[in-house]
């Protein structure tokens, strides 16, 4: 079970600010994204989105370990 933090429009997709999903043990970011896109097809309509692991932008090949803080980062719009 992995807890995903949601922000911005992703909170609307998740109907909340966090979501727990089941994934294989120590998945890559890429595996998480595929699962997410399949559970929430709206994700694919975003201009883009990133996964943050422990407050850093992660690459597709990065592995997610138990205890990591995972956040879904839709296109940012600060300023």
């Amino acid at each position: 079970m992995i807890r995903l933090l949601a922000f911005g429009i992703v909170k609307d997709f998740f109907h909340g600010s966090a979501l727990d999903i089941e994934l294989p043990k120590n998945p890559t970011v890429d595996i998480l994204k595929k699962e997410l896109n399949s559970l929430y097809p709206e994700m694919q309509k975003l201009a883009s989105y990133m996964i943050a692991v422990n407050n850093n932008y992660a690459s597709d090949g990065d592995i997610i370990y138990p205890g990591d803080e995972i956040a879904i980062i839709p296109p940012v719009s600060g300023g």
Binding site: L46, A52, N55, V76, S77, G78, G79
Partner: protein, 138 residues
């Protein structure tokens, strides 16, 4: 010196400027981002800013660190507002002071351009007839 803050209270421009004031610096550049009354001709009632705070602070520090690598700059202040903002409210203040003005201008421009690309802050524009998360969709 780097000073980075996210704040749900109104930003204090004078205090940001004061923090970056330095007798070794001849030039200071300030960027102030303000809520406009219109976006693409639709009247904005309010904006709602939210942030992934620990990561946003980290990304703002990264911007400052990059600037110190790239330019001869002495002080960087980046304050960003969160919560509900109305027309005329200040969303972001960036101050860069440097011995020479060229570096101050370039670094300040880099800071706001990069902030808008990398710092996890999101705004929702609320109009009379609807609302939209800015930039979410292509």
């Amino acid at each position: 010196m780097t000073d980075v803050q996210l704040s749900s209270e109104p930003l204090d421009i004078s205090s940001c400027i004061e923090k970056a004031t330095d007798p070794t610096c001849g030039g200071m550049n300030v960027f102030i981002g303000t809520i406009r009354n219109k976006t693409q001709n639709r009247k904005v009632i309010r904006l709602e800013y939210e942030s992934y705070i620990p990561m946003a602070i980290k990304e703002m520090h990264k911007i400052a660190d990059d600037i110190f690598q790239k330019w001869d700059v002495k002080n960087i202040v980046i304050h960003h507002r969160t919560g509900i903002l109305k027309t005329g409210d200040t969303a972001v203040v960036i101050v860069v002071s440097a011995p020479h003005r060229e570096a101050a201008f370039e670094a300040c421009r880099y800071a706001i351009d990069t902030l808008k690309q990398t710092v996890p802050i999101w705004k929702k524009e609320v109009f009379e007839d609807g609302e939209v998360w800015v930039s979410a969709h292509a």
